[in-house]
């Protein structure tokens, strides 16, 4: 079965420190992978996506993610975290499932930024 796992429920980092949020996937073929951010009371906003090609993907707000097939991972990174990055982050995967556009979301990682 297709699944996406985010092992860390909560992460706390200091402002200015680097950040890495983990995501592991289980798909039969090459998946389409996404990272979304959700601020309190807001809908989800797409940070970046990977379909094929270059395994290092650049997104908005200074985020990047690296697709590693050997590790079935798609970790999200940011070199220097800002207080405004505090939010919940969701990794999601999609595939060619009968022509639909079904995304499977992980359970999310809540990021807290200490000033």
């Amino acid at each position: 079965a297709q699944s996406v796992t985010q092992p860390d429920i909560h992460i706390t980092v200091s402002e200015g420190a680097s950040l890495e949020l983990r995501c592991n996937y289980s798909y039969g073929a090459t998946p389409y992978l996404f990272w979304y951010v959700q601020s309190p009371g807001q809908g989800l906003q797409l940070l970046l996506k990977y379909f094929s090609g270059d395994t290092l993907v650049q997104g908005i707000k200074g985020f990047e993610a690296e697709f590693k097939r050997s590790q079935s991972s798609f970790n999200l990174r940011k070199p220097s975290v800002h207080w405004s990055d505090a939010a919940e982050y969701f990794c999601a995967g999609g595939g060619l499932t009968g022509g639909g556009n079904k995304l499977t979301f992980g359970t999310g990682t809540q990021l807290k930024v200490e000033l």
Partner: protein, 115 residues
């Protein structure tokens, strides 16, 4: 451009009552999705529409949930009768097409509390 609109933003009802949520997608977006996000979990797809036809409703509890998208534009999701476990945020999203590579744009959600 205007984003995905949802109403109401909050709803409190008692169990066994009925409730309806409304979603207006981004203009021109053919595909519309309803997700259920239970506290502490990632969003789960309930139903996907392509124009006014259903593409995927495999995870919709059809004994109590129903959804329609008349005229292929806005959509209504209904719960009748509600159960305590239906307490969640209901997210609507839209995309230009139905392929996984099409970015989904999310609305702010409706937070439902069932007492």
């Amino acid at each position: 451009e205007a984003g995905v609109a949802q109403s109401p933003r909050y709803k409190i009802i008692e169990k066994r009552q009925s409730v309806a949520f409304w979603c207006n997608p981004i203009s021109g977006h053919a595909t519309l999705y309803w997700y259920q996000q239970i506290l502490g979990q990632g969003p789960k797809l309930l139903i996907q529409f392509q124009n006014n036809g259903v593409v995927d409703d495999s995870q919709l509890p059809k004994d109590r949930f129903s959804a329609e998208r008349l005229k292929g534009v806005d959509s209504t999701l209904k719960i009748q009768p509600a159960k305590l476990e239906d307490s969640a945020v209901y997210l609507c999203a839209s995309s230009q097409g139905g392929g996984t590579y099409n970015e989904q744009f999310f609305g702010p959600g409706t937070r439902l509390t069932v007492l």
